[in-house]
């Protein structure tokens, strides 16, 4: 009886949290789609995102606070992210700084930039005073389905539009050059592609999306913070990898580009779903980042270990031993 009551209250709590989990998951899903472009398509481990998501958030928040329309603020957040990506791209292609380090340098520099934009370590914005596109305050179940449903619907819509635009872009001649550069830069150059340029464009586009998601996130949570991007890359990667594992399991051979983007966004939802569950079970929010690191480790390690289990030296030794015993000297017969 008592146990049932606890279960019921837990389920209610989980149900109440669901709209928020989905909205937040999708906002991070946009960020993850940005990560997908660099990590999967360009094959470039870009760590700029930890900074550019904060830049997008800071730019959008300050503009809205100063009375700029939300949609212009979001375009500005996108543009600010693009600039961040441009810096990393130029550090890498013009100055020859290795990709991973170029991203770290931009990210660190952006910490100061973000602080300068915000003017303080954090700034909040009230949904009561400003016409925010998204707000966590509206996703309360108590507000009724019409309110929180539309809030979640807006997130779904944004992801759907971005997926459609990216599907188009990566299907164009220019999109092809980025895919070829990421896959085989020797081949790309031999086919007349300026691989430096396509690397920069991909980084710009990726960080633009990350900046946009930062702009949405700042509105959703009602504040921007210089630390809001810390560990963002890990959440983005988690979403990409969860989406990949899930997508290939469900779609198999039909796991095409659109599905990959959609599953990457879904990966964001699943990440927040799991986070919600472990927090309800009793994980202190102190351990959020530890948790996200562990999720990424698990999802990266499982396919590797599974594969390794299929063909390992240990197994080869065992097989060889059983063969030697079973067949004896008659091997040549």
């Amino acid at each position: 009886m008592n146990l049932l009551a606890i279960l019921q209250s837990e389920l209610t709590q989980f149900g109440n949290a669901l709209p928020g989990v989905i909205s937040q998951g999708l906002i991070w899903g946009i960020m993850a789609i940005g990560v997908y472009i660099t990590y999967k398509i360009l094959d470039f481990p870009d760590l700029t995102v930890d900074g550019s998501i904060g830049t997008g958030g800071a730019v959008a928040l300050m503009l809205i606070l100063n009375g700029v329309p939300v949609w212009i603020a979001l375009i500005a957040a996108f543009a600010a992210g693009c600039l961040a990506g441009l810096v990393t791209g130029l550090l890498n292609t013009l100055l020859g700084i290795p990709g991973i380090l170029a991203g770290i340098l931009t990210q660190i520099a952006l910490y100061s930039v973000n602080l300068a934009i915000l003017g303080s370590a954090n700034k909040s914005i009230s949904v009561d005073k400003f016409p925010l596109l998204l707000s966590s305050r509206r996703v309360a179940v108590s507000g009724g389905f019409a309110v929180f449903g539309w809030e979640v619907g807006k997130c779904v819509l944004i992801v759907a539009v971005l997926t459609a635009v990216l599907y188009w872009f990566f299907g164009t001649e220019y999109g092809f050059t980025i895919r070829a550069t990421g896959c085989n830069s020797n081949m790309a150059r031999a086919q007349g592609i300026n691989t430096k340029k396509s690397t920069v464009i991909a980084l710009v586009l990726s960080n633009g999306l990350v900046g946009l998601s930062g702009g949405l996130l700042a509105q959703y949570q009602g504040f921007a913070d210089v630390n809001m991007g810390r560990g963002a890359i890990v959440i983005g990667l988690a979403a990409v990898i969860i989406g990949e594992v899930l997508g290939s399991a469900i779609m198999g051979k039909r796991f095409n580009f659109v599905a990959r983007l959609a599953f990457t966004a879904t990966g964001g939802i699943i990440y927040y779903l799991v986070l919600q569950i472990v927090m309800q079970i009793g994980l202190d929010s102190t351990y959020n980042k530890l948790f996200s690191a562990i999720v990424v480790v698990i999802f990266l390690a499982v396919p590797y270990i599974r594969n390794a289990a299929k063909t390992s030296y240990g197994r080869a030794a065992k097989n060889a031993a059983s063969r030697a015993i079973g067949k004896g000297d008659s091997e040549d017969a």
């Binding site: 220019y174 895919r179 007349g192």
Partner: protein, 269 residues
């Protein structure tokens, strides 16, 4: 068509690993020339091809394609004039992209790329017909990822890609060396066919001396970053492997002690 004038290239200049790779290579190719290049390891064969392709800038000299000095153009710009097939079958194609997408990339070599579709419907039909010509069944797998193909299939596809948009120069850098003998023979035959049908000007590096004699209308031998022997026409047709070995000793003052070349001496292709 293509002319190299006193091309020089030193790698790691001023260090203990300094290597004078090209010591003043000069050669003039006529339109339709199919030159085979042989020589020992480190002779400068592949380096010559890479110099033409612009993989790195040369130290001095000139590279003239169609009357234009291209020595100052980076690799991706020079690609407008040049089709290339590499030794490693993995190098010439994008593994995670579809067969037809790879062809579409090659079709646009040298053209500005914009925001129109990367592959159009009419192209698919064109590629279908071209792939049929390879006789490998690839025309029915046009949406397969190139990574699923065998090395031989990938080389045949790379060859098709290199010539899809007619290049001024076709560079074949030991493009059959990584293939088994039977597949290598097939790819070589295909190369001959494509070069002849499209009247291409081509340079082919090979370690196989009989292949170097059998294919093409001109043969050059390299050693120590120099061209030490250049033969064409009737004289080339009458060459034998033994004559080549002798020529090498005579020109370079040492015996040709390259295992791969000696082993492939009697391997007819």
């Amino acid at each position: 068509m293509l002319e190299l004038i006193d091309v020089k290239k030193t790698f790691n200049a001023g260090t203990i690993n300094e290597k004078k790779a090209l010591n003043g290579v000069s050669i003039k190719l006529d339109e339709g020339d199919f030159v085979t290049i042989i020589g020992g390891n480190g002779a400068g064969k592949s380096t010559t091809l890479n110099a033409v392709a612009g993989v790195w800038p040369i130290d001095s000299g000139a590279i003239i394609i169609n009357g234009k000095n291209v020595a100052g153009l980076p690799e991706h710009k020079r690609a407008a004039f040049i089709g290339r097939v590499f030794q490693d079958p993995m190098t010439g194609t994008a593994a995670t992209m579809e067969i037809q997408e790879n062809l579409a990339l090659a079709k646009r070599r040298g053209n500005p790329r914009g925001l129109s579709w990367g592959i159009k419907r009419a192209e698919r039909e064109e590629y279908h017909e071209l792939l049929k010509m390879l006789d490998l069944g690839l025309e029915d797998r046009m949406t397969s990822k190139v990574g699923l193909l065998s090395g031989g299939q990938r080389q045949a596809l790379t060859l098709l890609m290199a010539t899809l948009k007619k290049p001024d120069i076709l560079l074949l850098d030991e493009h059959t060396a990584a293939l088994d003998p039977k597949t290598a023979a097939k790819v070589l035959e295909l190369s001959d066919k494509i070069i002849e049908e499209n009247h291409l000007t081509a340079m082919m590096v090979t370690h196989n001396m009989s292949a170097a004699i059998k294919h093409g209308n001109r043969l050059i031998m390299m050693n120590g970053g120099h061209i030490i022997y250049d033969v064409k026409g009737e004289e080339k047709k009458n060459l034998t492997v033994d004559m080549l070995l002798e020529k090498f000793e005579e020109a370079s003052g040492m015996a040709l002690s390259n295992d791969r070349m000696l082993l492939s001496k009697h391997n007819d292709m």
